[in-house]
């Protein structure tokens, strides 16, 4: 066990997988000498050479498409899209190719698309977005949304090893976060939520950076006598509905925390599924705590007000407990 930042954990996972399997290659903008905009691939060029750490032109659409071609040819490409906001440019190969190859052609497409998402750094409207929810609506893609260094590394290892194409969402605020990681970086299975904290009054479900906010909120709620259970979904596809339902059957209240804007977010899908499966156990409407329906503003003052944080979760939880007790 050692303590690593998420950047270090991700880099270690890439390093191990590239060591283990010569088919693993990396593609992306400035991932070579520069080590990627956030330093995740730093040093890998020296270690594995330019044939496997491929610095691409600024051509998100086609280097993503090329990675699909390379996957079909037997490699296991890991693509970096510098900011998730730019995945708008790579939608076609992901949606109309990668996601459909198994179903239509029965072909494996072992592709991982890593991309930093989310706000909190004052990067403004086109460098702060969360789009994982779009891909929820695209059958054929797995979606990983880790919240700790250990899970980041473990899920990335699984992502690289599966035959399915994977969207791998890395939160920018997570990069510098430290956490314990076992030396052997054990792969983490997809589809298994993590119970971050046990509780009986309320379930807080979250993913990616919002897990940290939910955890902090739960701590404060505990001080006020409210025991919130915190679930880290870890992957959206597959979704661990079972653990979610099990938790809600005990707590009778569910609050989902999502950084993305409210409408059409993954929280809605999670809410709908839980609603369908354990409706009778619910003592309160399922709550969503999300960013409001706006582009993410650059001004730190506005951005802080826009993106959910532990205070807001606490406030909303109090309201929920008060209104439906």
């Amino acid at each position: 066990m050692k303590t690593l930042t998420t950047v270090e954990a991700l880099r270690a996972a890439l390093w191990h997988e590239m060591r283990r399997d010569r088919r693993v290659i990396l593609l992306g903008e400035d991932i070579g000498v520069y080590g990627g905009a956030f330093g995740v691939t730093r040093g890998l060029l020296d270690e594995f050479g330019p044939e496997r750490v491929i610095n691409t032109p600024i051509s998100e659409m086609s280097f993503t498409g090329a990675a699909i071609g390379a996957a079909l040819a037997g490699l296991r490409p890991v693509v970096e899209i510098m900011f998730m906001d730019f995945i708008t440019l790579a939608m076609d190969p992901l949606v109309n190719w990668a996601a459909k190859l198994r179903y239509v052609y029965d072909r494996a497409c072992p592709l991982v698309v890593r991309t930093p998402a989310g706000g909190g750094r004052g990067y403004g409207p086109t460098h702060s977005q969360c789009f994982e929810s779009w891909f929820f609506h695209v059958p054929g893609l797995w979606i990983a949304v880790p919240s700790t260094p250990a899970d980041a590394a473990g899920l990335l290892r699984t992502a690289i090893r599966t035959e399915n194409p994977v969207l791998f969402v890395e939160h920018k605020r997570l990069y510098g976060r430290k956490g314990g990681v076992s030396d052997r970086l054990p792969p983490v299975p997809f589809g298994s939520a993590r119970i971050v904290r046990k509780g009986k009054d309320l379930t807080l479900a979250a993913w990616s950076w919002m897990v940290a906010e939910a955890e902090e909120a739960a701590q404060r709620l505990a001080e006020e006598g409210i025991e919130a259970e915190v679930l880290d979904l870890r992957t959206l596809v597959p979704l661990d509905l079972e653990r979610l339902a099990e938790s809600v059957r005990r707590t009778h209240r569910l609050m989902i925390v999502e950084e993305g804007v409210r409408s059409g977010g993954a929280a809605a899908e999670v809410a709908a599924r839980v609603g369908e499966s354990v409706f009778e156990y619910l003592d309160a409407p399922i709550q969503r705590v999300t960013t409001p329906e706006i582009p993410i503003p650059a001004s730190p003052s506005l951005e802080r007000a826009a993106i959910p944080n532990s205070e807001r979760i606490v406030r909303e939880a109090f309201r929920l407990m008060r209104e439906f007790s």
């Binding site: 491929i54 051509s59 090329a66 699909i68 071609g69 390379a70 079909l72 190719w97 052609y105 399915n164």
Partner: protein
């Protein structure tokens, strides 16, 4: 190169397959949409016969001809059009999505230009693993206006990848003349922006296409990078079923019909003294037989099982 008889057979297989498909759509037996390649057979057969068995082909929405040219099975193709379990994509893909990886045919596709980056990635993998293979991507004049054309050719030229970009310039993208959509309608000229050679050939001359692709393939295998090959051709049929072809004249069509690639090939065989009436009859008969068989096969095949419909999205 395959035997001339075999090439001639492939040309006829494509022609008859496509005619039959148009017929079945017109009669309402088949539904959905389809894009036939009547008039473009020589480019498909010429290009594919210049490839090696381990090379891969990426195709387009107008892909039946490419698949037959590569050695695809008309039975499984027809079954796919009929939406049957025995079709190339088990009825899931339809006319625009068929693949046969066993013969290096990685698929037609419904996104204009979509195959280009895939081919680049395949070539990248071949180079990395030091495999002596090339990827060939068919695309149309219309596809050359897509952003992925630019991005893909740039990466291929930059990295000198073993990929062949084969443009079937048939003068139109749907209803739009090439010159009404491309600032420089000579597609091969665009190669200059990507540091690769651009060559233009008569796409209705099978041998010309064969030679150009063979040469480009040799270059690619020597590590000298990609080539853009523009085949000037014409689709004698409509863009897709139900196309009134109001965007072009019957006179233009007639002129191109005189340059029919099958007739051209026959003339060439004659010139080389390799043609006789008996071969002609035998080839046409065999082609007709195989297409008829394909239809029988398709009709007799079961529809896909609804129970299994949700299976196979993930590995």
């Amino acid at each position: 190169m395959r035997s001339r008889r075999e090439l001639y057979l492939r040309l006829w297989l494509i022609r008859l397959f496509e005619q039959k498909v148009e017929n079945l759509f017109a009669k309402g037996v088949l539904h959905g949409t389809t894009h036939t390649a009547i008039g473009q057979e020589a480019a498909a057969v010429g290009a594919c016969s210049a490839l090696g068995p381990r090379d891969v082909v990426l195709s387009t929405h107008r892909g039946h001809g490419h698949l037959i040219a590569r050695g695809g099975d008309p039975c499984r193709m027809m079954a796919e059009l009929f939406g049957r379990e025995t079709g190339y994509s088990r009825g899931r893909g339809g006319s625009q999505m068929m693949a046969d990886p066993s013969i290096g045919f990685w698929g037609s596709n419904g996104i204009t230009g979509g195959g280009l980056p895939i081919a680049v990635g395949a070539a990248l993998a071949f180079r990395l693993r030091k495999e002596r293979r090339v990827a060939l991507c068919f695309f149309g004049d219309g596809a050359a206006n897509q952003g992925m054309f630019h991005e893909s050719l740039n990466m291929a030229g930059l990295w000198k990848l073993p990929v062949l970009f084969l443009c079937e310039n048939n003068g139109y993208a749907m209803s739009t003349p090439t010159a009404a959509a491309s600032a420089v309608p000579a597609i091969a000229v665009k190669a200059a922006a990507y540091g690769m050679p651009g060559v233009t050939v008569d796409g209705n001359d099978l041998f010309a296409v064969f030679r150009a692709v063979s040469e480009a393939r040799r270059r690619a295998l020597r590590g000298e990078g990609p080539t853009l090959i523009e085949c000037r051709t014409y689709r004698l049929s409509g863009h897709s079923r139900g196309d009134p072809r109001s965007y072009r004249t019957r006179a233009e069509e007639a002129a191109w019909r005189r340059r029919d690639p099958l007739r051209r090939f026959r003339a060439e065989l004659k010139r080389q003294g390799e043609w006789d009436e008996a071969t002609e009859r035998a080839v046409r008969r065999e082609a007709a037989r195989r297409i008829a068989e394909a239809i029988r096969y398709a009709r007799r095949s079961p529809f896909p099982d609804h129970e299994a419909m949700e299976k196979g999205v993930f590995a």
